[in-house]
């Protein structure tokens, strides 16, 4: 169940092993990225900090726990694709699911408040329950979530093209952006925005603008040497 998709009864089990019942969800087509609202969530892994912005102004700041080194929280530019509650005995009371393509990750509460401020999860972002309830009530489906930190290691495929997804696509997106090409959100998915950026890179270097990344483009972006 990658990509944060729920099962038939609207239930989701995240990478931390907790289960939530979804009461709001959206079919994800991240290739059609449209700004839903002016809200933004940033998670700075280095500082174990989640910040919520509205209309460009910081509204709330919360401490969080992030993934262990062996199960890191995925760096990238995601969005909230579902929201849910846990109707159990009060642990992990709220869920905000993210559209990371290689696992089920989200922002949720915890019954281990001592883990906040540490690298303790299996990749999800944990918050104190009172904080996640507050955030849950502020955040809408489609809100961008930027997780800031070191990019995950990636085995770069020799050819990257439309429909590809994964950490190597994420590296490609950041490398293009560093060179001044607009890739849209760096969401680890090879969609139309990334294809256009690749075509422009190819034009810049005098290559045929196929929109397909080969070893030539990976070399020119200094992704391999």
């Amino acid at each position: 169940m990658a990509d944060g998709k729920a099962d038939a009864v609207g239930r989701i089990s995240c990478s931390d092993g907790e289960t939530f019942y979804l009461n709001e969800l959206e079919t994800v087509e991240t290739a059609n990225w449209a700004a839903v609202n002016t809200d933004l969530i940033t998670v700075e892994k280095r500082y174990f900090r989640l910040t919520f912005y509205r209309d460009g102004r910081m509204l709330k700041k919360y401490p969080v726990a992030i993934g262990k080194p062996s199960t890191p929280t995925p760096v990238g530019e995601w969005k909230v694709i579902n929201k849910g509650v846990n109707c159990g005995n009060g642990f992990g009371v709220r869920w905000l699911g993210l559209n990371c393509p290689w696992g089920i990750y989200g922002i949720h509460g915890t019954d281990q408040p001592g883990s906040i401020g540490m690298m303790s999860s299996h990749g999800c972002i944990r918050m104190h329950n009172r904080n996640v309830v507050e955030l849950y009530n502020l955040v809408r489906i489609g809100t961008p979530v930027r997780i800031i930190g070191d990019l995950p290691p990636a085995n770069l495929r020799r050819v990257l093209k439309m429909q590809a997804a994964g950490p190597d696509v994420l590296r490609l997106q950041f490398a293009l952006r560093r060179k001044g090409f607009d890739v849209g959100p760096a969401d680890a998915r090879y969609g139309p925005a990334l294809k256009k950026a690749v075509c422009k890179l190819q034009m810049y270097y005098g290559l045929t603008p196929t929109g397909i990344v080969t070893l030539n483009e990976l070399n020119l972006l200094n992704l391999i040497e």
Binding site: G180, M203, G206, N216, N219
Partner: protein
């Protein structure tokens, strides 16, 4: 009577001159009328729309460069307001085409790396507006010729991006090929074949756009008509026998060259040469990547394709008239000189059309004026770059021939393939 006769003559002269101000031009069999002696009236205000492209330079530098250019232009023409619009690199040509169809082109259009077809309805050929000294200053002679149709300069040239070959200096000199001599006198594929004994079986002579476009076209045309092969296959056979080219030399050409597995990198742009130079310096390579002219294919000299950035001037219907066109020409001429900060041209590694700017670019880019001289014949004899679908078609034909050159297909199989498949994929 004599006085009356003189008066009639003078009256006739003024009537003729000012009632018949148009100059007639014939381009591609079609007649155009322009008024090159229209002048910008300093007491009038003009509004010029300028379209250019949003080049991905760091820090929005291209927009800043253009704004600085416009500010410099306004120092001479404070009565001309320039409205700038930056187009997307991919969709810009289609936007211009749509604007021309609607009858709403910009006054001045700066292309990216291709030359838009001449629009007989709205476009104004700029040559007649220029005086010879201005033409000499703003037009790099070799590039300027590429902007002419039937001897009439139709566009302002702005920059050019020729193709070049890059060589591994160490391998070339080991084979007895002298770089200075190649640059001065040119070379051909027989010279390249001399490299073969100097490199191991795992290495190759060349990767990239090894076969010139003209030869690709010829080979494909012959394959459509007959199963027999033409004269070009003689040299192709020699390259095949010398194991000259790998089968996957297209998508991996940079890898092959940087690792020293190919002695030559064929048909790349100056910006890739700069990348190679920086990478070899960064990795501490013991050899140097040197710029070379394209080799001749057997006895014929081949002119590499040149991408050209040009400036077009259009007459906007119901707006401004001949003075508006004159104002637009002034702006186009100013922009074509590539004045001010040279940084965009250095970063893009495109050769400015103006002589003075090109010399300065050669110094700042690290290419050097001597290399600029090598590139000049290519600029004089080069062809306008082909449209994208044609480039892609030739790419497929080139890939098919490289399969032959690497030994993966026989000659007969390749000809059959070219006949039935390559063009239609």
């Amino acid at each position: 009577m004599a006085f009356l006769g003189a008066l009639c003559g003078i009256s006739f002269y003024f009537t003729y001159h000012y009632a018949q101000p148009f100059q007639k031009l014939k381009i591609k069999g079609r007649e155009l009328r322009i008024k090159p002696n229209a002048a910008v009236d300093p007491s009038r205000r003009y509004r010029i729309t300028l379209w250019d492209y949003d080049w991905p330079l760091a820090g929005d530098n291209y927009r800043k460069y253009l704004q600085a250019q416009i500010a410099g232009f306004n120092q001479s023409y404070p009565n001309i307001t320039v409205n700038l619009r930056l187009l997307d690199l991919l969709t810009g040509p289609a936007e211009l085409a749509a604007a021309l169809r609607r009858g709403a082109p910009p006054d001045v259009y700066c292309s990216a790396l291709n030359t838009p077809g001449f629009d007989f309805k709205y476009q104004v050929p700029v040559g007649p507006y220029l005086t010879p000294p201005v033409r000499k200053e703003c037009c790099f002679p070799g590039i300027a010729r590429l902007t002419e149709l039937d001897g009439v300069q139709c566009y302002f040239p702005r920059w050019a991006r020729p193709e070049l070959w890059v060589g591994n200096r160490r391998l070339l000199e080991r084979a007895g090929l002298e770089i200075t001599g190649i640059r001065a006198r040119g070379w051909n594929w027989n010279d390249i074949l001399k490299l073969r004994p100097q490199i191991t079986d795992e290495n190759y002579l060349a990767v990239g756009k090894v076969i010139p476009e003209g030869i690709l076209q010829k080979v494909w045309s012959q394959a459509q008509m007959t199963d027999t092969v033409g004269a070009e296959w003689g040299l192709l056979q020699k390259i095949r026998d010398a194991k000259g080219v790998p089968s996957d030399g297209g998508p991996q050409m940079i890898d092959y060259f940087c690792s020293g597995r190919a002695a030559l990198l064929a048909g790349v742009k100056p910006v890739i040469w700069r990348y190679l130079r920086e990478r070899l310096a960064r990795t501490g390579a013991a050899w140097e990547a040197v710029i070379l002219p394209a080799p001749a294919w057997s006895k014929a000299k081949t002119a590499p394709p040149v991408e050209l950035g040009v400036i077009s001037v259009y007459r906007r219907p119901r707006l401004g008239g001949d003075e508006q066109v004159a104002a637009a020409v002034k702006l186009g001429e100013y922009l074509s000189r590539c004045g001010g900060d040279r940084a965009p041209w250095v970063e893009l590694m495109v050769i400015p059309a103006a002589r003075v700017a090109a010399a300065e670019w050669a110094r700042q880019s690290g290419i050097g004026e001597s290399i600029l001289k090598i590139l000049e014949p290519g600029l004089v004899g080069g062809n306008w770059c082909l449209p994208l679908p044609e480039q892609e078609r030739l790419g497929r034909i080139s890939a098919a021939l490289q399969q032959y050159l690497s030994g993966k297909r026989s000659q007969a199989e390749t000809v059959r393939y070219l006949r039935t498949t390559a063009a239609g994929e």
